[in-house]
Subunit: 376 residues, 2 copies
């Protein structure tokens, strides 16, 4: 309310300075041909530029042009149909687009969001289909010693039925937290769409917080705790994976009507979460029949690791999905190494080499391609 | 990830310009004595000011002072322990604090968030207590003809028990949507705290979207729909209240293990939601035994309205809570009028006259004072 009054006040100042009423600024505006118009009314600013995630060379900011009223504007594109984060840079300060209510947090940073509709974005667009429920759930991690938060997606109809469903455990990367797969990954909408199209079996998706030192995402933690990486960070190594096995899976299987046993459990993760996935599945080859490692792979494959991977084969994993962008150098090498080991042991695998790099666009694609293959 | 690279790039430009490495900017920083330090590194900006919700005179922006490195800074306070939204104004542009990951959306506008801990904010602070689950749930509104979204808070232990719980229906104001009571109102944490202290009975809290033309909050709607007020807005009048009775209550009572009957239902709302509450309870005096009208009241009290209020008395309402800030002129008059009618009919009421005006600080207080009185 006060912000509105403040805006009126600022508008008043502008009125005095410019003698004309500014219409409400529309930004971003997606126009035909997959183009986007960005606008910012900033009569006092010297320069306005923008960075958006469609830009592969981040040193090439887009410059907005000022007209005689102080409105800065630029048209970009065509760009691929996708959801993009972007920021304005106003006189050197990285800011959000004040005309756009849609904001996405990535770790400690926020970006404004724009969706260009089309084939790619229809994977995770919000369609007129039945939607599952997304819940923020607190559980006790006795392994880590704190009460922690995670997200749980239950498929459409879950609350109305007594059917037991299979479960996908879906892990985020470094810098993320339990919000990441729902905000940037859009996992709930990907599943809604796949399920409504009959492509995926209805399943639960469990999205924990992979930073073992955190209670929950920033702003959702007790004021006496911090979300920043602690100095004794190293002491948390392996705790999350242990907690997944000892705290999270038992919590889910106790409190939700789900199917048990390895054939009804899948696990997948991106980047750091891909590493977590490798760690959990090699230490507990008896737990999951479906494994997905996105944009991660493995760094080295010594004899001990090889023995562990053989155990995965012996435990009859049904599908091992490896997804990686060919421009994602380190991870791509690691993925090739992982695939070589899968091949050697005769573990059934899919190697999805996509264009691009270490991006949410790729992780959304991997999830949307892997989910239909689960529990069948 | 790319944003980090971009920041490194911008930092590089600054390094070139200033020849020294900038440490990471900490902002906001809450310091002793309920003071807050705000900082923004903006060597190219001419002026930086800020507006925060503790400022009652919105024409008096706080000016940040620039030091010789280009860091703008200001210390404000002491301020009352509360959670506040604030924005920077950089060369005339209203922006968020780029150093602060915490963002709160109010309708179409975002603000950065800062919490000053203390007595007032402990009402809704995140404490080390058992937390309930907060779920985003989709339901079909046959009254409105769309699949819509709401939030449902289930108390700690709900998933683990077969106990049936009572339900509070909690309504937001104009300009808000289903997010408002969870983000600005912090209802889940208020209930967690009251329940853990034994002050409130465990209950469900149902927080629907009160804009009958909306599917859900911005960014959560099918791309073919809009969240903006339509030109045929008037045709939606009364639909939300109807939908609450015909769609939402039946959905909750079918899909959740809750207690039925009026003594196990409460309804409360702020501003527009207070109006919705008056409308629903006068049209359906048989549905709720507990009624809360925050910062709203009634505009006129003709004979027809008086008859309806008598029906509320005849239906043995157990408690009618009226909360209003004495500086909230229109609503305060309306609240006094409502209280006069309650008095006349001998309806048991509480009139909570607080300091301040039409603010979330007040609405959080009213909820935290009303909830302990429910279902007893």
């Amino acid at each position: 309310m006060r912000i509105i009054l403040l805006l009126i006040f600022i508008l008043g100042v502008w009125l005095n300075s410019f003698g004309q009423l500014r219409n409400r600024v529309i930004s971003p505006e997606v126009i035909t041909g997959n183009k986007i118009v960005f606008r910012l009314f900033a009569p006092e600013a010297k320069s306005v530029s923008l960075y958006g995630e469609w830009i592969t060379d981040y040193t090439k900011l887009v410059i907005l042009q000022r007209n005689d009223t102080g409105l800065f504007q630029v048209e970009v594109g065509p760009v691929a149909p996708e959801i993009y984060g972007y920021n304005f840079i106003v006189d050197g300060v990285l800011v959000l687009d004040p005309s756009n209510p849609l904001v996405r947090r990535d770790g400690q940073r926020n970006a404004s969001l724009v969706l260009v509709p089309g084939n790619e974005s229809s994977l995770y667009g919000i369609e007129k289909v039945p939607h599952g429920t997304l819940s923020k759930v607190w559980y006790n991690s006795s392994t880590i010693g704190i009460n922690r938060r995670m997200y749980i997606y239950t498929p459409p109809g879950y609350e109305q039925s007594d059917i037991n469903y299979p479960v996908l455990y879906l892990l985020h990367g470094a810098g993320g937290d339990e919000d990441a797969w729902t905000t940037m990954g859009r996992a709930p909408y990907i599943l809604d769409n796949l399920i409504s199209q009959g492509k995926s079996r209805p399943m639960l998706v469990v999205m924990p917080n992979g930073n073992a030192y955190q209670t929950a995402a920033p702003g959702e933690t007790p004021s006496s705790t911090t979300t920043e990486r602690p100095s004794d960070f190293a002491s948390y190594r392996g705790k999350y994976e242990e907690s997944l096995v000892n705290d999270i899976i038992p919590f889910i299987e106790k409190n939700y009507h789900v199917l048990k046993g390895k054939d009804n459990r899948a696990i997948a993760g991106l980047s750091m979460g891909g590493g977590n996935t490798v760690t959990v599945t090699t230490s507990h080859p008896e737990l999951f029949s479906y494994i997905g490692v996105f944009s991660a792979g493995v760094r080295n494959a010594d004899e001990a690791f090889d023995t562990k991977m053989k155990a995965i084969k012996d435990n009859k994993v049904k599908m091992y999905y490896v997804g990686c962008g060919v421009e994602d150098r380190m991870a791509y090498q690691g993925s090739q190494l992982l695939v070589a080991i899968l091949k050697k042991h005769g573990i059934p695998y899919i190697f999805r080499e996509s264009t691009g790099g270490h991006t949410w666009a790729n992780w959304r694609i991997y999830l949307s391609e892997m989910a239909p293959l689960l529990f069948k």
